[in-house]
C-alpha cells in the first residue's frame, strides 16, 4: 500500500468503515511508516475533539410551531363518519361468526402492536424520554426492572459486538407496561422491547419496515422481542443475531 492510499483509508479505519482485510493492510502500512502513523494519531485526536464539542444546533421553537401548524389537524369525527362506524360494526359481527375473524384480528393485532412499538420508539427519541435507568452495566439495568414488570427482561451486554448498552425504560404498548432496553450504534438508537407471551414456541426472526423504521421481531422462551431502530436492516439483523447468540451462550445479566 502506498502512502497516498493509506492517507485516504486511514480515515475509514478511524470511522470503523473498513473490512478486516483492508483494515489489516492499512495497519500494516502504518506500522512501517512513521509519517502515516503520525497522521493517524493526529486525526484520531481531531475526531475526539470534534466529537466532544457540541456542534449541533437546536431548532427554534417558532420553527417547530410553524411546521406543526402547516400539518393538517385531526378533526372531531362528524355524524356521517360515526354512522359509517356502526355499519362497519354489524358487518364485522357477521364475519366474526365465521371464524375468519380470529385470523384477521390476529394479523391486525400484530400490525397494530408493531405500529405501537414504532410510536413508542419515536416517543423515546424525544428529549429526556430515552431511559429511566441510565447504565452501561447490565447488572444495574436488569435489577431496575424488578417489581415494575411481570417478567424479567434479559439484559445482554453487546458493547464488544459494537452495540452499546445505554439503559432501560418502562414503556407502554398495547395498554400494558413493557420493558425497553436501549442500545446505541453510532448515532442510532435501538429500542429492544420485551413482553411476555403465552406461547413458549420459538418464532424465527421477521424483519418489517414501518415508516422507515426497521423492526426485527422474534419469540423465544415465552418472550416476544421487538428491536426497533432507524439502523439499516442488515445492521439491525446483526444486532438481533448477536443478541440471540448471547442468550444461547448464557452471557445474560
Amino acid at each position: 500500500m502506498t502512502c497516498d492510499e493509506a492517507e485516504i483509508l486511514l480515515h475509514a479505519l478511524i470511522d470503523g468503515e473498513l473490512d478486516a482485510g483492508h483494515a489489516r493492510a492499512v495497519e500494516e502500512h502504518i506500522a512501517g511508516c512513521p509519517r502515516c502513523a503520525a497522521q493517524l494519531a493526529a486525526y484520531r485526536e481531531m475526531s475526539k475533539a470534534t466529537a466532544s464539542a457540541n456542534l449541533r444546533y437546536t431548532a427554534p421553537p417558532a420553527l417547530r410551531r410553524r411546521i406543526e401548524a402547516s400539518l393538517p389537524q385531526a378533526r372531531v369525527p362528524n355524524r356521517r363518519a360515526v354512522l359509517r362506524g356502526f355499519a362497519m360494526g354489524s358487518a364485522v359481527s357477521a364475519i366474526a361468526a365465521s371464524g375468519l375473524f380470529a385470523i384477521v384480528v390476529r394479523n391486525d393485532d400484530e400490525a397494530r402492536i408493531e405500529s405501537e412499538v414504532v410510536s413508542a420508539h419515536l416517543r423515546s427519541l424525544q428529549a429526556g424520554h430515552l431511559t429511566d435507568v441510565i447504565s452501561t452495566d447490565q447488572h444495574t439495568v436488569k435489577p431496575w426492572f424488578n417489581g415494575k414488570l411481570d417478567v424479567a427482561p434479559p439484559v445482554v451486554d453487546l458493547t464488544a459486538q459494537g452495540f452499546t448498552l445505554i439503559g432501560g425504560r418502562l414503556d407502554y404498548v398495547d395498554a400494558r407496561p413493557i420493558g425497553a432496553i436501549v442500545y446505541r450504534r453510532r448515532a442510532h438508537v435501538i429500542n429492544l422491547f420485551v413482553a411476555q407471551t403465552a406461547s413458549t414456541e420459538r418464532h424465527a426472526a421477521k424483519l418489517d419496515t414501518i415508516q422507515g423504521f426497521n423492526i426485527r421481531r422474534w419469540s423465544e422462551r415465552g418472550l416476544n422481542y421487538w428491536a426497533v431502530s432507524d439502523l439499516a436492516a442488515d445492521e439491525l439483523a446483526e444486532f438481533g443475531d448477536k443478541f440471540e447468540t448471547a442468550m444461547r451462550t448464557g452471557t445474560v445479566g
Partner: protein, 204 residues
Amino acid sequence: MPGRWIPAGRAPAISTNAGQSAMPVNAANDDPERARRFRDAALPHLDDVYTLARYLLRDAADAEDAVQECYLRALKHFDSYRGPAMKPWLFAILRNVCRAEYARRASSPTAPIEDVPEDAAQTPLWHDAPETPEAQMLHRWDASTIRRLVEALAEPFRETFVLREIHELSYREIADVVGAPVGTVMSRLARARAMLRSAWMAEE
C-alpha cells in the same frame, strides 16, 4: 417565506417519486391520520435537519426557511416514501432545497457543489503539518471556534464532514444522501479533515 424557493434542477439523490402517488397530492395532504404518522416519523429529526441546514446555508434565517420547505416537501411525498431510514431521506430533501437556494444566490461566494473539482487543491495540505503534538491544542478549541472552522470549508467537503462527524451517518448513508459513490465520500472526507486540520493549526 416559502414562495422564494425554486424547485431543484436535479432529481433528488433519494427518489421521492412524487408523480407516482396514488392519490392527488392535495387530497392526501388533508388526511389527518396521515399527517399524524408523518409528524411522528419526521418531527423527531427536526434538530438534526435544522443542524444540517445551518451548516449548509451558514445563515439562521435561511436555514429556518429551508427546513420548513423541506418538511412541506417531505409531507407531500410521504406516501411514496419507502425508506431508507427517515433521517437520510429528510437530509436528501433538505439538500435539494438548499441547492435551489444556492442557485438563487447569484452573489454567493461559495460555488455550487458540482463546480468544485474533487482535486481542487493538488498539493495535499496535510503533508505540511508540523511535527508538534497537537493533541493538547485541539482540546482547547470551544464549539464556536470549531463551528466557524467547519463553516469555512468548501461546500462538498463541509457537507460530507457534517454528515459524518455531527450526524454520524455511515459512508453508505452519506453516499445515498449526496448521490455520490462511496469512494467519493471517502476522498471528500479525507480532504475535509485535512483542510480542517490545517485551518486549526493556522488558528494556533
